[in-house]
Amino acid sequence: MSNNSLSSEHIKYLKKIRKRKRTIFIAQISILTIGLLLWELAARLNWIDSFLTSYPSGIWNLFLQYTKNGGLFYHVGISVFETILGFSAGTLLGILIAIGLWWSDFWAKVLDPYLVVLNSLPKTALAPILIIWVGAGYSGIIVTAITVSIVITIMNMYFSFISVDEDKIKLLQTFGATKFQILKKVVLPYSIPTMISTLKVNIGLSWVGVIVGEFLVSKAGIGYLIVYGGQVFKLDLVMMSVFILALISALMYKGISILEDKFLKWNE
């Protein structure tokens, strides 16, 4: 429909919505800008102790310095690598185990209390043990990241698998479908929305695993920069690392959202 065929009332309505969207966006940007400006100002006028709080321009200069000597990319690269590996392995293994539980009702019942206990346990408590077992390097950190995301993946996916409408399965059975076909044609596609929301949660959880792992053992990575910066009281470094961490995990989350739009066309 072209614009000139719209009634003036409808144009007014559209304008109102656009204006509201714009106002929200401006407010969001303003909060960030004003916050940063006040922080900078407070530090320069000595209202706050910039040794303890750092300040935006200091962080920015450090950022430029770390970018120039390539150190930043090295540390970020390692953390991202660990996170993506932990995230993928945790999610994939979790889904496979959930499929196994769906396949065998007996084992689902047997393992249920163990899953409940593991789910309520804060997985980061296991990190020191895992690192001793697996090794104080990338592998230990990655296993920690897997541990944090795998249990919730199993539980979410299994719950989604068993909530498929019985009649939909019956329908496939009347066509003579095998159990594997039932899994492929209805159980998995039905669970794609759950899978995507689990991916979103797992991005955050894998980062928790990686950062905790790096706090404990690493010689490199964003978690290492934070711990190191804290120990030598270089708050610029700590703040910069936290900002970068926020930025990257937001980007990854956005990536999953794009995936969601692609896979859930039918849901519009």
Binding site: F175, P189, W266
Partner: protein, 259 residues
């Protein structure tokens, strides 16, 4: 009977076991369905009508007795039988065309020819413009029509319909039951329909099987012969037949409903 027997239900009995005890759902059910017939099963709610259909479809095993479809004993789901449910159960993540092809996919028979047949059927039944749409964009009646095509395309020679119109609103229900009745007759399908709607059963069927309360037994089998106006068979038109009221009262009495 000179016609070929499609379904032979032989002394079927069914008892359900749960932790709290056992329930006898069906007792001594015995009847046959012949080629080209539409037979309805009516009975009080919860009497085990759907259980009976599931047994014929091979989805559950009866406690006693056996079912023969096309002369062969039913031991599990077969390709000869198509099943329609109360709700359409179209998969939301598939387009209408993909939904219609589901059964063929399971049989591993999706070829260019099959896709052409599917498109032709969709065109014939007024869904041609919607084949690339998703189910949620269709009305309830259209969805149920798509579900029927999904069942018909695998060419079963027996259709089991488990209250297939009960999830629709009244007007749609009348229109769709009329349409599906005509489609079944045109495609010369044999069908067994479970319903609790007496009028629907009379207008669609050649014979009606009346079941008793649980445990369900056969109370009566009624042959329906309506003189439909204008000599054209159509379930809606046939509701105007003079015999309609007579059958209605007879079945209503036999169902013996106490509220």
């Amino acid at each position: 009977m000179d016609k070929k027997t499609i379904v032979e239900v032989n002394e079927i009995g069914m008892t359900y076991h749960t932790f709290n005890g056992e329930t006898e759902a069906l007792r001594n059910i015995d009847f046959s369905v012949y080629e080209g017939e539409i037979v309805s099963i009516v009975g009080p709610s919860g009497c085990g009508k759907s259980t009976l259909l599931s047994i014929i479809a091979g989805l559950i095993k009866p406690s006693t007795g056996k079912v023969l479809v096309n002369g062969k004993k039913v031991t599990g789901p077969t390709k000869d039988i198509g099943y329609m449910f109360q709700r359409d159960h179209l998969f939301e993540w598939r387009t209408i065309l993909q939904n219609v092809l589901l059964g063929l996919e399971i049989h591993g028979k999706v070829e260019d020819n099959a896709i052409k047949t599917a498109e032709m059927l969709l065109d014939t039944y007024g869904l041609g413009d919607f084949k690339y749409n998703y189910p949620r964009q269709l009305s309830g009646g259209m969805r149920q029509r798509a579900a029927l095509i999904r069942t018909l395309i695998v060419e079963p020679n027996l259709l089991l319909l488990d209250e297939p119109f009960s999830a629709l609103d009244y007007q749609t229900r009348l229109a769709i039951s009329d349409e599906i009745g005509i489609i079944l007759k045109r495609e010369k399908k044999t069908a067994l329909l479970v319903t609790h709607d007496i009028a629907e059963a009379i207008s669609l069927s050649d014979r009606i099987i009346v079941l008793t309360n649980r445990p369900a037994r056969i109370k009566d089998i009624i042959k329906i012969e309506l003189t439909c106006p204008e000599g054209i068979w159509s379930p809606i038109k046939c509701r105007e037949a003079p015999e309609f009221r007579h059958y209605f009262n007879k079945i209503w009495k036999e169902l013996d409903v106490h509220v």
